[in-house]
């Protein structure tokens, strides 16, 4: 017997997988594998279809029972409105025509229930996926989820919704149903093969303070129940079967990170004031209402970007004026007396909700303010909702994807119309409500001084600005490595916009990813940025850096950086700066890619 075939279970190999850090924190624990789409469906001939029909009916009944329970829990935990996403699945499970069709096929083909259910449901999913409309594609996921639920019940496998101990849960992709079910247990961390930092489950784990790494592609393939696992939500990595040495390293790192977190959180309430007295504003980007309770503890000076398009995705409908106003009011109340900047619907591009058409070049197409100007009904309704909200607390309005000042002028005209209509109805609102523009298209950046004449503030969106300046689509794997927000062209454009805004007498903010990257903080401060807006978990870090920095030296440092001609030189300088002055922040919060 050759020794290489000997399997020694106790000395399993250490495996490191890289994904996306979706929620910060470090967890060290044992795996609980939540298998979902791992059900392998076999095609099998059957002698007695009646047995299959009976099995199927039992599985459907059981699925209905499970969903009713989830629906009930969801209504308690997240409210009636959001729980409605489970209603659709209940309807699917009680579709008499479709299920009759499935049963007929079982009898006719004399095949096992699993095979027929899988084939028939998948056909419907494929049909829906072919539609170009994002909302209908979402429905495909619900049908798929229903299929998996029935298949699991056919296999008479129990849903793991309650378990002993405090595991790290590993699964292919977290659904809202998982998030609801798991919230009843003690979970150390979440790990998944698919999903991004902005998915529902990721945002939910951030607000629950549970570390998470998503997008690992094949984490489920490498783990079993009870296996040791380390999850590093700061750097987006997991270590399976860690060695004693690795465990020690991460235990130390965990302690060090938690200590730093505690320190930063204690100081988060202090103002973002440099050592020589320059005051800037550090605000939060908000996607979901679940994030609102995080704002005060993280020291947010208001909301610098309230994304309104998730309202459409979440509710499977475009909320009307009063529904929007109700939601907006919660945001305003969470940060008063500070302001909330509401960005009008940024739909289009790869997210199409209105109409059903596909574009050859969606990122150069009908999106942002372009679409809203073509749909003044939606824009007017949203303006009225924001204006209504402004009676209860400070609100600002921001237009996305502006390319020319004409778009700003036209949008402002619609805003005036909305104000007049509210006047006619004697509805109260803030008559001096401030309007701003996102600078994310090169033409707008070059014309920012002219655009600034029509508005009260500018806010730089670095992700799109980088994409358009460098002509790199970050989602295209062939060129994604060329996406570089620290490119000198990007940095010089940012500086140009800040100066142009200041020349026109308006404040300049940044709400793109760079604003939340600790590597960039001193540079942006030195360029004269007035407002930083980032995910709330990063705000205490930004404040710490700003409060320990001298504005004058930051200006000098920024001037040096702006003269540099290569990305490597810029990144090395920024990295060295952070490492020397903020060693603990450097090692805790930076992703590994930035460190190398």
């Amino acid at each position: 017997m050759s020794s290489e075939h000997v399997v020694v279970p106790d000395a399993a190999e250490e495996i490191v997988l890289r994904g996306i850090g979706a929620s910060p924190g470090i967890a060290i624990g044992k795996v609980l594998l939540l298998e979902k789409d791992g059900i392998v469906v076999e095609e099998r001939g059957v002698d007695n279809p009646a047995v299959e029909l009976e099995r199927l009916q039992k599985a459907i009944d059981r699925s209905n029972y499970e969903l009713e329970k989830i629906y009930h829990t969801a209504r308690e935990k997240i409210g009636d409105e959001k729980a409605r996403i489970f209603e659709a699945q209940l309807l699917i499970l009680s579709d008499p025509v479709f299920l009759e069709e499935v049963k007929k096929k079982i009898v006719k083909s004399r095949k096992n229930a699993e095979f027929v259910v899988s084939t028939e449901f998948s056909k419907q999913v494929e049909q829906l996926k072919r539609s170009g409309n994002e909302l209908f594609k979402q429905r495909a996921m619900e049908i798929d989820d229903s299929k998996n639920r029935i298949l699991r019940n056919l296999a008479e496998a129990k849903l793991k919704s309650r378990f002993e101990g405090t595991p790290i849960v590993v699964t292919s992709e977290f659904t809202p149903a998982d998030a609801v079910l798991l919230s009843r247990n003690q979970v150390l961390g979440y790990v998944s093969d698919y999903g991004g930092a902005r998915s529902h489950a990721s945002i939910l784990s951030r607000s629950l303070g549970i570390p998470a790494v998503v997008g690992l592609k094949e984490a489920t393939k490498h783990v079993k129940d009870g296996v040791d696992l380390i999850l590093d939500g700061y750097r987006g990595i997991i270590v399976i079967n860690p060695s004693e040495g690795t465990l020690k390293k991460f235990r130390d790192r965990k302690q060090w990170c938690e200590q730093l977190d505690t320190e930063l959180m204690t100081e988060a309430g202090k103002p973002a004031l440099t050592t020589d007295g320059r005051r800037v504003s550090v605000e939060a980007n908000i996607e979901l209402l679940e994030e609102l309770p995080l704002l005060r503890p993280h020291g947010a000076d208001g909301i610098g970007l309230f994304r309104t398009e998730p309202l459409i995705i979440d509710s499977d409908s475009i909320p009307d004026e009063m529904e929007q106003a109700d939601i907006f009011r919660q945001a305003v109340e969470a940060v008063e007396p500070n302001a909330v900047i509401f960005r009008t619907f940024d739909i289009g591009g790869d997210k199409m909700f209105v109409g059903n058409h596909s574009e050859q070049n969606p990122f150069l197409g009908w999106r942002g303010i372009r679409m809203m100007l073509d749909r003044p009904d939606l824009l007017r309704e949203q303006f009225r909702a924001i204006l209504r909200t402004s009676a209860f607390g400070k609100c600002k309005i921001m237009y996305p994807m502006v390319a020319t000042d004409e778009e700003v002028i036209r949008a402002n005209e619609f805003l005036e119309e909305a104000k007049k209509s509210l006047d006619a109805e004697e509805v109260k609102y803030d008559k001096n409500i401030e309007v701003g523009v996102m600078i994310e298209i090169p033409s707008a950046a070059l014309m920012s001084k002219e655009i600034a004449r029509h508005v009260g503030f500018l806010s730089i969106g670095t992700n799109d600005l980088t994409q358009y300046l460098l002509a790199v689509d970050r989602t295209n794997e062939l060129v994604a490595h060329m996406f570089e927000e620290f490119h000198p062209a990007v940095l010089r454009t940012i500086k140009f916009v800040i100066d142009a805004g200041h020349d026109a007498g308006v404040k300049v903010a940044m709400c793109g990813e760079m604003a939340g990257n600790p590597l960039a903080t001193v540079m942006l401060l030195g360029m004269g940025l007035d407002e930083f807006s980032a995910v709330s978990s990063m705000l205490p870090v930004l404040k710490k850096i700003i409060r320990s920095t001298n504005y004058k030296s930051a200006r000098k440092f920024a001037r040096q950086l702006l003269k540099m001609e290569s990305v490597d030189e810029i990144k090395k300088s920024l990295s060295d700066y952070l490492k020397t002055r903020f060693e603990r922040i450097y090692f805790t919060t930076l992703s590994e890619g930035d460190i190398e």
Partner: protein, 88 residues
Amino acid sequence: MVQQEVVVKNRLGLHTRPAASLVKLAAKFKSEFFLERDGYRVNGKSIIGVMTLAAEEGARIVLLFEGEDEEAAMKAMVDFFDRGFDEL
């Protein structure tokens, strides 16, 4: 058999909620009911079928009815489309 072409009028199209109401309305009639869009036909009494139409605002759909109460069923369904599924 009777049939009539209708247009989806509400801005979100025939999404989950209107699809559910449509199926419930169809169940009140004995007639068979189909919806057809660009040659793709689905059973109007199946929520999954109706959802797979992915009918957005402005989509043109032919409604087909066959059965003893087909006229009444068509009248009710056309009216439901005209009201924009009560989402206008």
